[in-house]
Amino acid sequence: MITHDTILGISTILYLALFFLYVLYFAAGKKAILTIAWYCLLLTFALQTAGIGLRWVESYRLGMGHAPLSNYYESLIFFSWSISVLVMVMRKRLFPVITFAAATASLALMAYASLSPGVERGIQPLIPALQSNWLHVHVITCFLAYAAFVVSFTCGGLYFFESRGIVPPGRTLEDINYRSIIIGFSMLTSGILTGAVWAHYAWGSYWSWDPKETWSLITWIVYALILHLRFTGGWRGRKTAFLSIIGFASVVITYFGVNFFLAGLHSYAT
């Protein structure tokens, strides 16, 4: 009987294959490799989706059925999955080097999830506070936002490299960066709002300044600042590239930092 572990394991290996396909493309420059890489990504994503689905089914068999969005391990896998969703949504605009960076991020998350000794991989029962349909909307919107910010961060980082060979021109990076910030900002807003509505039902208060909440607000403010500085201050180029790196640092603190360093209501991850 195939379990979700096996399927997720295979998809991790496929992400690794994808990584090497892109490396090969950058070395050889053959267009055909890109086509293969694209189908490889589709296959990887399909398997990953199946793995997540199977874990869902298995949780029912264990008598604690719930969507696999509830502990740290599951969130890492879902983060990786969301990045691939975003790459597929934005495929028309992306460049090989950005898809490569995104696939590498997916690979890193999958590898960390399945190899780190600090990550509890078993299916765990869902505590009553998490038993809500808001969990699904909240987690999905937040992770799509994080995924969009991964793309934005990639563009911001690449901006500081000379536009040569595999690095797209600055204006293009700027444009993709802006588009991903729009998606990320809208999704993060939805994520924070659904989280607040959920908190209202679960804890009786839509906002409690818990560290994770606060950091998500800080992240939201950073991206709002980027939008304003861009739109009304006319900031472009290095400045916005730098700001999108700051924004992503805030995302990393919101997602990883808070779990490890700051206690709070959201510390489901430890």
Binding site: P125, I127, P128, S186, A196, W203, S205, L217, T232, G233
Partner: protein, 436 residues
């Protein structure tokens, strides 16, 4: 677009004092500064411990640092005066900025209607095309089919417009933030929170405040816990817990009953009750001189003349099973004695001449309910909905204008889009191909 905006701000006669102040209040720069400060100071509250006791702070920080924290209210950052000041500054700025934005929008509207764009210039810039004169009707039909609205600007010029709502997206977003802030304010001024703990069968008419030394909040009705149930996962973790609650009015009549679960609060008269926690509180059955007495923890009973009570419960006393520590008064002097339920020799003891035996220990649950009254919630929720709508129309719809000029021999079609230029050019290109 940015350039024109900046120019517009700088244009005009030197502003008089009050309008200049207003201008500063409405400036995006102030918005950026206040928002940055709110963000930066929010970080402090996540790294400095919030709402701790003096001892907790002194065990974490030096005495000097503690005084500093106290002085600036960093122990309750998000409710400190200066944080409120930043929020107010931000709110005022956002109001001013929104008012100004609405003004420019209405002014702009008049202007675009009056002055048609330089269509030939647009065509030359690649944002348009020229077609046969005969295709005028076809253009009209095509654009109408993709829900453009038509407006005749002159005999020879027509304007087709779509997504003009997109221009109001920003206003909607900003207004929604104001709504959320307003809802928060209503909650602070008109709301109240508290906590109640009930054992099965118990009632209460007030909620306890979490802050030390505050009087309890009267509910205006009576809450009775009829039952508390809990189900566990095979591994022993709680799966679901729920309280069956009865609400009685002041005359003692039951006005509402319901079951409160985590994520499923019960609301009555604007007050919401949330399942928040639970615990066990035992009751102990003693036989005192042949008479049965049931005691809760800390409850006092008499053995002859001597008062005694259970002060501590232990599920395992060494290897001897459950036991309780009983305190009693020996004259003026308090004394304690352990009773073990499962050890014959330790089950029955004599206190001041009275024979007391521990007959049984039964577990009873208590339920912990969070109580909140927050009249601001509907406003906040409306703000949330508005914000999502605003984001959608601002980012995912865009304002397009297509001017069609016919000069007898040919028609010139030129378009402008507020964003997503590439997508718009594709649309124009398709239109020109269909007309060719």
């Amino acid at each position: 677009m940015t350039a024109t905006k900046n120019n517009r701000e700088k244009e005009g006669a030197p502003a008089s004092r009050p309008t200049s102040l207003l201008r500063h209040l409405a400036s995006v720069r102030l918005g950026i500064v206040s928002l940055s400060l709110i963000g930066a100071t929010s970080i402090l509250g996540t790294v400095i411990k919030q709402g701790g006791t003096e001892e907790e702070y002194l065990s974490l920080y030096s005495e000097r640092a503690y005084h500093f924290i106290k002085l600036f209210g960093f122990d309750d950052t998000y409710h400190s005066p200066w944080f409120y000041f930043l929020l107010i500054l931000f709110t005022v700025n956002l109001i001013a900025c929104t008012v100004r934005r609405i003004r420019t929008l209405t002014a702009e509207k008049g202007r675009t209607a009056r002055t048609p764009a330089d269509v030939k210039g647009l065509v030359a810039a690649g944002s348009g095309f020229t077609a046969k004169a005969g295709s005028l009707g076809e253009v009209s039909r095509r654009l109408g089919a993709s829900s453009y609205r038509k407006k005749e600007l002159s005999e020879t010029t027509a304007l087709y417009e779509k997504g003009s709502l997109a221009r109001y997206g920003v206003v909607v977003i900003h207004a929604s933030i104001l709504a959320v802030l307003l809802g928060g304010l209503v909650g602070i001024l008109g709301g109240d929170r508290g906590f109640i703990v009930l054992r099965v069968g118990e009632t209460t008419q007030a909620a306890v405040k979490r802050e030390r030394g505050r009087p309890p909040v009267p509910l205006g009705f009576t809450v009775r816990c009829k039952d508390f149930t809990i189900s566990l996962y095979p591994g022993g973790q709680p799966k679901e817990y729920a309280s069956d609650i009865e609400i009685l009015d002041m005359a003692g009549k039951v006005v509402k009953t319901g079951r409160i679960k985590v994520n499923e609060p019960l609301s009555y008269n604007g007050v919401r009750l949330y399942q928040s926690s639970y615990g066990t509180s035992n009751s102990y059955t003693f036989r005192v001189n042949g008479k049965e007495v049931v005691l809760a923890e800390q409850e006092v009973a008499k053995a002859g003349r001597t008062p005694f009570m259970v002060v501590r419960y232990a599920a395992q006393v060494h290897d001897f099973g459950p036991g309780v520590m009983v305190a009693y008064m020996d004259g003026e002097e308090p004394k304690t004695l352990w009773f073990l339920r499962d050890v014959e020799r330790m089950r029955t003891r004599v206190i001041q001449g009275s024979r007391i035996s521990l007959e049984g220990i039964t577990g009873g649950y208590y339920t912990g309910l969070e109580v909140s009254r927050d009249p601001g919630v509907p406003v906040v929720l409306a703000g949330f909905a508005l914000m999502l709508v605003g984001l959608y129309i601002n980012f995912f719809t865009f304002h397009r204008r297509i001017y069609v000029v016919s000069d007898g021999a040919a028609i010139h079609v030129g378009g402008v889009a507020s964003r997503n230029r590439e997508g718009f050019l594709e649309e124009l290109h398709k239109l020109s191909k269909d007309l060719a």
